[in-house]
Every structure is written in structure tokens, then in C-alpha cells.
Symmetry: C2
């Protein structure tokens, strides 16, 4: 049953002033965040602006994040439902990993058109549950609503490690000049996989799997916490843009060495001319950017099995937040920074 | 950037087997819930199937729920954005109230078309924040995504009162034969208001406000907990359908006396012939149905200022879960049970 009543003066589709597309995703979030109470409540440890929110509950530190995948924006109706389901939870696990927490409980909201196929919906949910199993997450609730497009929203709650009363966190605002910037795994696989899929490749191709079934390095985040690392972000918007978020929140700048970037080998083979661009701006790799002293990054590298590559360093605040340099230290023309779904 | 790749065998829009509209919202939720691990993890106190999920975190009991409003389904583009914002949080507060908890932290996801007006989006967020202020909720994060329709999803977290190590909760599965069924406030105001709006009435009309700006009786829920009440649900799908949820979860039946229902006085005036039907099946009043022994319901009534009306009683399990009777005890033809957005 659809409510029908007279139009409001400032209805969402009757434009007064600027459109959200002129402001973009990050501008919009900034304007909305400015409306929130400052400072945050006393139990809030991390509010809006990081990968997840964190607050105290007794002697625990609860963590929560949410992410949505929308048909036609984040995936097309043609994608396999099980892959949509997996990814919808995996992107949230990535946010919890980027804060150094443990994901535990999920609420899952399915928005479905009435003509969606039940078998496909169950397959999508099954894909989500396989990801939940892989990361030790339990689905405890959610919502099902009718909508013209399929979308899936996951709210994921977890906890931070608490040591002598204080939560150990990986934050965006904890980078200091002199710190080393390192990244887990390889870069550009997701956007390379997307390109391959657009070129008609099978969804079973290794590069395509990087796009369809991201596997955030949750255990590495836990080891990083124990190694004394306190600054991180996940690679979602695009490597340079994500490092830019750290620089902004930490009031520093960064230099990234293009030669040291661990480009995905399949990406190099498939798109040799575009590999660097995709690796620095493609996004959605859901690897971890970890920032810390040389000593701590080295210590971490020694204690994990996944590749960890130093790719740059933190510098004092500068006009250019993130600079990409070649092997001679010459500044490369910065490719477009990354994704901003709302901006046209 | 929209991913484009080959169609999957069981894509969501390529129907294999039945459509979700043939199964309906509740059938779908049942089928998905059946896929979850049983029994739930040891820290889970209440999993899927109640108004909110509850789990242990140290000596606290954390509560979480989520609800979505979709343009064209739950509201039209013509509704005032501030009212959409208010309601998006209020319906979640209602879920936490129906569990006897205190709402504390919210994640807000806005899905916006690129041509949405920035001023309207800020007004919508402002409406949500006014509701947050009214109920002591702090927004700590969220997501902004591009989508063809406006929708707003709130995940709301809170805590239950814990007494000697055990959380005090209002559950759907705790009704016992002999219990009294009572309801707060008045009924049918929301669906009466919707009807008035559809007839062209001003959004400032009192009945219209009942639909546009629900005010869940959060404090009453807290008093009910202290009065020893352990069973409740909020009036969202429709009174009889909501009482049906309690009966199903508690394995009991219920008799509701039509003569005792506290019909909204403005509703009686506006739609005298339809008032009863709207009150029992219209839904969205976001009042509380409280179920408990006569003694406890009386004790609660004495300690709150909002109206609490006894409207029926719990009976042993029977074929007909919920029966509506007139003043002579004759069974009224049961009107259609309530809302099911997915079913056609």
C-alpha cells in the first residue's frame, strides 16, 4: 500500500538549491556529520568518520559499521546472487578489520522487488552465510522490504580487544610523520577483474573472483593490533584516496612509491598499460593499508603469512595530501583519486 | 561506474521457481531464518524472530534492530523530508521499546538518487536528529549510496536492563494462558491519518501527524520492565497480526474484545464506519501491546501517565490464533490481518 498525499515544499525530488550529485558522497557526509552533536557522548570512542564506530559498554568496546550494495550501482541483476551475498558481508568485515576489531553479529536487510526469484534470494542469502561462516559472524536479525531495485544492507557489530581498560584500535587519525605505509596482499585485482568481466570473461577467472569475492585480511588486522600498530584503513575507494582519508584525519601528507606497489600479477598480464592506474585508483580490493613505525611494520611482517609490502611513508602536512612518485622520485601525474558514487 | 558482465544462471530477475511475492514477507523471513545456525551462539540471548536481537557483551546485554523506509513503498517523494527522517528512526526506537531496552547508538544509511535536492536531504537528516534528541539516541556512523529511489535504513543499537546478571526483556514468546493483553495510547490513528492525507488533508492535521510522526512509548516500556512484565510487541503490522506474532511465538491463542479497543477519537469522527477495521489491521501506530498477569498489568497502569487499556486475554493454543469478539462474545469476521509489503 503506497501512501499518496500532497507534495511537500521541499520534497526530495523538488530541487531547492544544489543537487547531491554536485556535492558528491564525501561532501554530503561532511555536511551531514556537521549536524551531529560535538563532542560525541562520553561513551563514544570513535564516532562518524572512521571505518566503524566504537563505544564503551561496561568493560567492553562495541564496534559497528554498515554498508549497502545496490543493484545497478554496485552490481547488476546479472551477477550471481551468491557473489552479491558474499560481498555484502565481506565489505563490512573489511571495515571491522580496518578498525582492528572482531566481527560478531550481523543484521541483514534485503530490499527486493516482488518479482525477484525466491531461489535466487535464497542463494544470495546462502552466499552471505558462507562469508559469515568464514569470518565467525552470526546473523541475528534484519528486515525484508519491497523496493523497485534489489539492495542488501548489512549492519555488522563486533568488539575491539580491550587491554587494561583501553580498547586497542586501528584508527584513521593516528598516522605520524616518519611512519611507514604498508599494504597487505596485492592491488588492482578487483578493478582488473571488473574490467575482465565487462570484457565477457568467465566469473570463475581468478581476476574476476578478486572482484566478486573479496577476502578481507581479518587475522592480519588482529596481529597488527598485537604488534602495536594503531593506524589503518581498508582499500575500498581506491588506494590513493584511502591514504588521503588517513592524511586528512591525521593532518599529515604521504608519499607513495609506484615502483613498490604490489600489483596483482594477473592484472599486470591482462592490462599491462592500465595496471598502475587500476591499482592506485580502482578500489574495492579490501586489503589493509597499515601505517606505523618502521620497527612495528617490520615486526608485523615477520609474524604474518600474507604478503605485507612497504609502499611509502608519512610526511608532515602539505598542500598535496598524497603524492605518487616513480623510482627516481619524480611526481607522477596523479590519476583520479578513486570512487565517488554520488558525484556525476 | 556500473559493473556489466554476463548474466548468471540464477540471477535475481531471472525467475527460477516461485517469486518472493508468492511467498510474502513473513514466509520469506521464515525460509531465510531456517538457514541460520540452530541453536544460536551461546552469547545470543534473542536471535531472529523478535523485535530486536540481544546478545551478551561482558556484564551488558546489547540490543540491535534495523528498519528501512523506501520511497514509493513506505512513503512517496511528496512527503516532507523531515517527517521521513523522524519516522525512519522512530520505527526503530519502537522495536527497542518493544524489547524493553534503551536505544543508544544509530547507524544511518541514505540511498539517494543523484538528482535529490541537498536541502531536502539535510532536512530529512534534521528530522531524524530531532527524533534522536527526543529519545536520547546518538548517530555514530552510516553510509551514503547512490540508488534510483530514496531509502533510509537505520540500524539502532542499545542495551537491556541487567539485574543480577540477567537481562530484563519484553519478548514475543513469553505470553501464558490467563495473561491480560493491554495496549498503550490509542489505535488506528496512523492509518486514519494516512487516509486523511490521501483525501487531501493538511499534513498538520492531528490525525495526519499520527501517521507522519509516530512517538513510541519508550518510557512506558521501561516502567513495564520494572513492573515485571516480560511479554510485548509493538503495533506495526496491525494489531491483530502483531498479537498473532506473540501467539505464534508463545504457542498460545488470544481473544480481543472489539468494544474495549481504544480507538483514536479523531479516527472515530473522520471514518466512523471504518474505524474498527483501521484500528485492528491498519498498523503503524507504534504503540505497545503488553501482555502479563492481571496483577502486573494493573500495577503498570497505576504507575504510568499514558493510557493503558486491557483489550483481551491469552488462551491456550487453538486453531484460530487471534479471535476478535463483540460485546456479546460473538466472533466478528476477522478483517484482513495487516500489512505484508511483499505479498501482492
Amino acid at each position: 500500500m503506497v501512501p499518496v498525499y500532497p507534495p511537500a515544499a521541499k520534497a526530495l525530488r523538488i530541487i531547492v538549491g544544489v543537487k547531491v550529485s554536485e556535492i558528491g558522497e564525501f561532501g554530503l557526509i561532511e555536511r551531514l556529520a556537521a549536524k551531529l552533536a560535538q563532542p560525541p557522548g562520553e561513551d563514544v570512542i570513535v564516532g562518524i568518520g572512521d571505518d566503524a564506530a566504537v563505544w564503551r559498554a561496561g568493560d567492553r568496546a562495541i564496534m559497528a559499521t554498515t554498508d549497502t550494495l545496490v543493484e545497478g550501482v554496485h552490481f547488476l541483476p546479472s551477477v550471481a546472487p551468491r557473489d552479491v551475498g558474499w560481498k555484502s558481508l565481506a565489505v563490512n568485515v573489511s571495515d571491522i578489520a580496518a578498525m582492528g576489531g572482531r566481527p560478531m553479529f550481523a543484521l541483514v536487510t534485503l530490499a527486493l522487488p516482488p518479482d525477484a526469484g525466491m531461489e535466487a534470494v535464497e542463494e544470495m542469502y546462502g552466499g552471505l552465510l558462507r562469508c559469515a561462516d568464514a569470518y565467525g559472524v552470526e546473523v541475528v536479525g534484519g528486515d525484508v522490504v519491497s523496493a523497485p531495485q534489489v539492495s542488501i544492507t548489512v549492519a555488522l557489530m563486533g568488539e575491539a580487544v580491550v587491554r587494561t581498560g583501553e580498547p586497542l584500535l586501528l584508527r584513521r587519525d593516528a598516522a605520524r610523520p616518519g611512519d611507514v605505509i604498508a599494504v597487505t596482499g596485492t592491488l588492482g585485482g578487483s578493478s582488473g577483474g571488473l574490467r575482465r568481466l565487462q570484457d565477457g570473461a568467465s566469473t570463475d577467472e581468478p581476476l574476476a573472483r578478486m572482484h566478486l569475492q573479496p577476502r578481507p585480511p581479518l587475522e592480519t588486522a588482529a596481529v597488527a593490533i598485537e604488534a602495536g600498530i594503531i593506524c589503518a584503513i581498508d582499500v575500498s575507494d581506491g588506494l590513493l584516496q584511502d591514504i588521503g582519508h588517513i592524511c586528512k584525519m591525521s593532518d599529515v601528507s604521504a608519499v607513495v612509491r609506484s615502483n613498490d606497489l604490489p600489483l596483482n600479477p594477473d592484472l599486470r598480464k591482462a592490462y599491462p598499460d592500465d595496471a598502475l592506474r587500476l591499482a592506485v585508483s580502482g578500489g574495492e580490493d579490501y586489503e589493509l593499508v597499515l601505517v606505523g613505525t618502521r620497527e612495528r611494520i617490520d615486526k608485523l611482517e615477520d609474524s604474518i603469512s600474507v604478503p605485507l609490502t612497504s609502499i611509502g611513508e608519512v610526511r608532515p602536512r602539505a598542500d598535496e595530501r598524497v603524492t605518487l612518485v616513480d623510482e627516481d622520485g619524480a611526481v607522477l601525474t596523479t590519476p583520479d583519486g578513486g570512487w565517488d558514487h554520488l558525484r556525476e
